[in-house]
Symmetry: C2
Subunit: 433 residues, 2 copies
Amino acid sequence: MQRREFVVAAAAIGGLSSRLPQGPEWTAWRVNGERVNRDLAELSRFGRNPQGGVSRVAFSDADIAGRRYAIGLMRGAGLDVRIDPVGNLLGHRPGALPDARPLLFGSHVDSVPEGGNYDGDVGSMAAIEAAQTLRERGYRNRHPLVVAIWCDEESGLTGSRGFIGDLPAEELGRPGRDGVPLAEKIRRIGGDPDRLAEARHGPGSVAAYVELHIEQGGILDRSGIQIGIVEGIVGINQYDVTIRGFANHAGTTPMDQRRNALLAAAELVLAVDRIVRAEAGRQVGTVGRLNVRPGAPNVIPGEVTLTVELRDLSMEKITALWERVRAEAEVVTRKYDTAFDYALQHSNRAALSDPSVRRAIGDAVGGLGLTSQVMPSGAGHDAQDLARITPMGMIFVPSVKGISHSPLEFTRPEDVVNGANVLLQTILRLDQQ
Amino acid sequence: MQRREFVVAAAAIGGLSSRLPQGPEWTAWRVNGERVNRDLAELSRFGRNPQGGVSRVAFSDADIAGRRYAIGLMRGAGLDVRIDPVGNLLGHRPGALPDARPLLFGSHVDSVPEGGNYDGDVGSMAAIEAAQTLRERGYRNRHPLVVAIWCDEESGLTGSRGFIGDLPAEELGRPGRDGVPLAEKIRRIGGDPDRLAEARHGPGSVAAYVELHIEQGGILDRSGIQIGIVEGIVGINQYDVTIRGFANHAGTTPMDQRRNALLAAAELVLAVDRIVRAEAGRQVGTVGRLNVRPGAPNVIPGEVTLTVELRDLSMEKITALWERVRAEAEVVTRKYDTAFDYALQHSNRAALSDPSVRRAIGDAVGGLGLTSQVMPSGAGHDAQDLARITPMGMIFVPSVKGISHSPLEFTRPEDVVNGANVLLQTILRLDQQ
């Protein structure tokens, strides 16, 4: 019935595509919830593990099969599917305005080894479902619409980096952990690394990018909120720290003659937690890696290496937190007569979402009568690359118990439908802007 | 000259060996310091490493060569050398009293891999030198004297355990890390594992045991004291602890929703140090082994395993300290919403030295005009086994910077001489008791 109303409304507005369609019609459109969940279940067959979840690692046979499945769905949704030189699947739906820049939305279908059925998959299937819904509604979009299934998200945002022109040539030739160079893998999935430059999209070339994704944390699930409106993807600094004391006999060295690197390290581990918690905000700080040498029960630890990871939407805040951690490290290492050095091992700059895209998501959420909260993304996403060339927004749906990268990863079917509807309604709003 | 005086004195006392020789004569006897240091240097040739120190691992060709060198020295000192069924070298010098039990003194010549030239060697060469000195002085000992070079001290006090009858049959048949059963190795050095029972000495069968050893810690070196009088060999309990939290994404899990096993472990590491230091005494406590799982920079630690080692002369004190550590572990693991369990993985009972032997050592030190302090041995020694069948005493000489089990292990030649003289004078005193 809704379909018929639209046809009438569309007939009424005729070719005046710059005029807003009447609110009531398209704001009432909804995705086919049963279908998107069925597509999600079907996708989970590719790379399925006996113990649940999938291993659909990028460039593997399972990944190629999953991509083939996605291509079929995209074509079924009337999209003109091309594999770009990096290996991204781009499904085009032409727009009515001749010079309008494309609106992109999508996610990825590759997984970590022994991953789950929701990370990337929810956003990918929902994007195709949104395109399918628009097709069924006979919607005449102003902007070209592009459903993007980015290749190899999990091991380094390869597809989205290629798309924005940030995939260095030396990375293509370098053999991966499996010994195979990236270029060869890209060819395997239908890309063409020799034409990589053609994949590149400069700043301003895309109208906006929207990605639906599972939260991968437990904030929404704990608070019972249905939608997360991502204010940005956090920046990450990882500092490798070495504390050097003196390894000695744990029996013959009195307590007051020790230079125990682990005591200094233990104080530092606690200091990271204390310093990060001391300030208001959603920053996180973790020591996840810590190795003790020589590591024997009867030898006083002579050296500890550990990594301090700090994440926040503000790189300035990360730097300020590290400055406090570093100062504390100097105090505690001196206290135990140990030496301390560090190196910034890895840094990912934070990527903020665009206020206008956030507003469109917020309007969509409001129109659907869903609850939402603005929140950072603590995990990395292709959207952080897209943010460098276009206004970006992300929609989060709850991860049950915050579990991700695990066969136990789960997002409820109704939350998948909510997310897909928010995506659909956001695209409609952005298309009308 | 001293020699001639003794001969006169000995002639004066004639066969009345139960009468004390006149103080001045034998209390003035000294070892040949040049010789004992030369013997020590000579011994260091067997298993010498290019980078210094030795690898004279028990039962190796280097060990056999070192033992052969020791046998030669023992014979040169007039000792009747036998290899007992366990493989210990026992150099006998008959005593004048028909029913007197033997007085034992000695150490070991095997080393750890890439060990030094002093651990075991100083006590072994000094014991032979003491016997040589007694021979040169024409001393008529009341007790049979036995210089003991225990086999395989480093990997488990094998020789001394066999000597006191604590070498279980199953240990003989079990292949070592090199795949060779202990029985075969004992045969290789001239022992006879089939006659192991004959090696056994029950409680009361030996008059006393004295061992000179390097300290292997830095207490004497730091304080500039020449001789350590060992009050006992510490007991050791090692507790394996597991702390279980929940591994989760370090980016998406807010600080207040974590169950971080490493934070609990860090508090426990510091608690061990604090609890052990809080009490007067020379107890030591160490966390030397600590492993974090999964151990990735971007994953909150889900599990930490660590070993708490406690050492003291009093097993009761060790148990009391552990009780405090355990109580603290329960508090801190609860604080971080983690779980905690533990197992006593390894326990060595403490062995106290005998007051009368300590007194003899103290008298010897006084007679030599040396400085001394009473101290525990934080490391294990063959003497701890001997303590189970006989009054035991140990003499320590300084280890420069407390370094041991290293090519950098060093004890000054004058300290070697001091130790050898204290050993000689202690044996003389014990023989006269």
